[in-house]
Assembly symmetry: C2
Homo-oligomer: 425 residues x 2
């Protein structure tokens, strides 16, 4: 039995969708039980899991144990006795199944930005006779800032920013690295990882994927794509907590050559020998720099222990069913031609969220948040709604889509308090 | 009334020091109450606060509030409503008084290693016509690894490693940066910050101080020394928790020019405009790269809120009184000529810990840990004992020094289980 209404059924659902219909979908949802493992505030329909994932119930106890028992009682001994020193690799190993990678190809450290920096420099070093970094203008802007920072450090290296989907035309024998955001942070459009990686490889380039909006949203197959390098975020779909550490993937066949620039003790083969010469550790451990942030890592591990109980393909099926339901409700009920889907209409071509355009998108989103429907806004006019199947119900989809239609149809957004910009939008 | 026995009194204390004498010192210790703000396991005398500081009692509740209320209930809204976005600067501002710096000159981010990397590259950019980085061989090895990593990124830049205390002779018009560990991680010897900074400045170089073993151990006066740049660690004397984020200091007069290489959204003037071009924020905010690790930051802030209640000069006085007491007990009671003080004998010339040499130092330390006296060991033969006046008692000093003498005098270290090396020593 399916845990959701198949896409085809949905499209043929000729009658007006209502809350009762959505609640029936929840009854047959095999992932429904998973929601019980999360804290979700009353009166909130949370569609911003692609920005900050919800809190796993076990996270608080896990962190309290690390603080009270391991730090408070174990003190410095816990680096050994509580396995702190192994956490970056242990948690990396728990992310690996979501990536289609092996446990020893993934490690957790630092932020996505710092990891992009490390792996972009490392990628250039894998292709020392080539000097071009190709990146798309639709990449997450930080990825572009990082590339510019790397360019400034390497005289002769050039960052070529190409329009989305135009990487093919930029590939030549000067290209060292192609650095791409796998799922577009605005529209959720998915890059064809297998195809791009294969073409880049044929052209002799390394591909560095940013999987921040992909991990936990869509099944990934880094091995099947013969991927080289990747980074990703811990605090979105992985539910690792605010500012959770990020991860790095390095394919096994690159691990002996990989040479990252922030060489520090935790990446040393023998960190506690305090040797004056740096000798990189074997494997992904050499990607580490400073001391791992244990308290944040403990929160993050709680999120992954939920992920390791579920089948990512079932999660993806439910995600598609939810986003298709959302689109359908809006299509059935909205009469405002200014409200437009900005994501691909084919659900297979988009990741875990939907983007809708509206000229008053910022104020519309504030009015929604005021009603307990939390999505987010990206300039100039995009409202994003993220589908986190581990904790969202089809009834929540009803609530959110129906509220969106209502706010737009009634001009409920048209109020000064909904136009005022906050520091983080 | 003094909160400790003055050094001169201690030296003239002709009688054999005993536990009762030390307990009397605790009675007149004005910082004694502070210990109540920490969790300390029963039966442990904790002398490894220079490696991992003890747990502030409030840390657990603070972190639980951030997790359960701010993350669980507030969700993504807490970036604004709970002030998450301001945490790196807010906590930096709480470190500033310990550095002799202004609140807007300090920011918390990433690890010490990553921060050293950022500021070392930034320092080179402040002196573009100079290409030499001077560093001492006695620096913490990670500092040397980072310098080597920066050297590899900058063809033409040369790292000169000089013996401890020999920086003067290396200063010429080619030196861009002098990068020094202020308090030696092995011997605790303090560099003369005012003198070295002045000489480097006269020679046209920038000084980048690593204050990891200094902050919270000795009063610092970055303004008085006209210091340029500094980094430091959050998890040692600051009691910020395992792997707590680190900090960066940039003197105000450098802030407009400072240009760090890991350019990413949190250092952008307008991070949520998602502009394709990077425009650095004003002030120390431009030193940020990725998303701040909120859970670890919350634990760290708890530690600083204790620091902000005490006078650092009183803390230093007690630290000196404790370490002098330790030295005296060992001198009075040990007959083993192989047990030698490896730190400066003048307490004003050493930071917050003592190092003792012994050919069997590793096994001696394991035997001490087995008895509940926790210090640590650094190859080849150094035992380190850290003095954290916020939570240590003079009676603990008695316990530790007396145990050290006993283990050495009775050869209690001479057992196979004390010789086996752990992953983290």
């Amino acid at each position: 039995m399916n845990n959701h209404i198949p896409h085809a059924d949905l499209a043929s659902h000729a009658n007006l969708i209502d809350r009762e219909y959505c609640e029936r979908l929840d009854i047959s949802d095999r992932l429904a039980e998973c929601r019980k493992q999360f804290v979700l505030p009353a009166g909130v329909a949370y569609f911003d899991g692609m920005s900050l994932g919800a809190l796993p119930k076990i996270a608080s106890d896990r962190v309290a144990a690390v603080i009270e028992s391991q730090w408070g009682e174990g003190l410095v001994r816990s680096w050994n006795t509580a396995g702190w020193i192994e956490m970056p690799q242990r948690i990396g190993g728990k992310i690996a199944p979501l990536l289609g990678a092996d446990a020893d190809e993934v490690v957790v450290a630092d932020s996505t930005s710092v990891n992009l920096f490390k792996l972009l420099v490392a990628a250039l070093r894998l292709r020392p006779d080539r000097r071009v970094i190709v990146i798309e203008s639709s990449n997450f802007p930080t990825d572009i800032y990082i590339a510019r920072g790397v360019e400034e450090l390497h005289p002769g290296v050039e960052v070529k920013i190409v329009p989305g989907g135009q990487v093919d035309h930029a590939l030549d024998d000067k290209v060292a690295v192609v650095m791409l955001t796998h799922v577009d942070f605005k529209t959720a459009e998915i890059h064809n990882m297998a195809k791009i990686t294969a073409r880049a490889r044929d052209a002799g380039a390394i591909v560095l994927w940013d999987l921040s909006h992909s991990t936990g949203a869509v099944p990934l197959d880094l091995h099947g794509c013969d991927a080289d390098l990747a980074v990703g975020c811990g605090y979105k779909y992985l539910n690792g907590g605010p500012g959770a550490p990020a991860f790095m993937f390095v394919a096994r066949h690159h691990q002996e050559q990989i040479d990252q620039p922030i060489t520090a003790w935790m990446g040393h083969a023998k960190p506690f020998d305090f040797d004056l010469n740096y000798t990189p550790a074997q494997g992904v451990k050499r990607l580490l720099s400073g001391t791992p942030m244990i308290v944040s890592l403990a929160a993050m591990e709680a999120g992954l222990d939920i992920w390791n109980q579920v089948d990512l393909h079932s999660v993806r099926e439910k995600s598609i069913a939810m986003s298709e339901l959302f689109v359908r409700i809006v299509a059935q009920r909205s009469t405002d031609p200014q409200l437009k889907l900005a994501s691909p209409s084919d659900p297979k071509r988009r990741g875990g969220h939907l983007a809708f355009q509206h000229p008053q998108g910022y104020a519309v989103m504030q009015a929604l948040i005021d009603r307990g429907v939390i999505g987010d806004f990206r300039d100039p006019d995009l409202m994003r709604f993220g589908f986190a199947p581990l904790y969202l119900r089809f009834a929540d989809v009803w609530t959110a889509a129906n509220a969106l239609v209502e706010v737009v149809e009634t001009n409920a957004w048209d109020h000064p308090r909904f136009r005022e910009r906050a520091a983080v939008t």
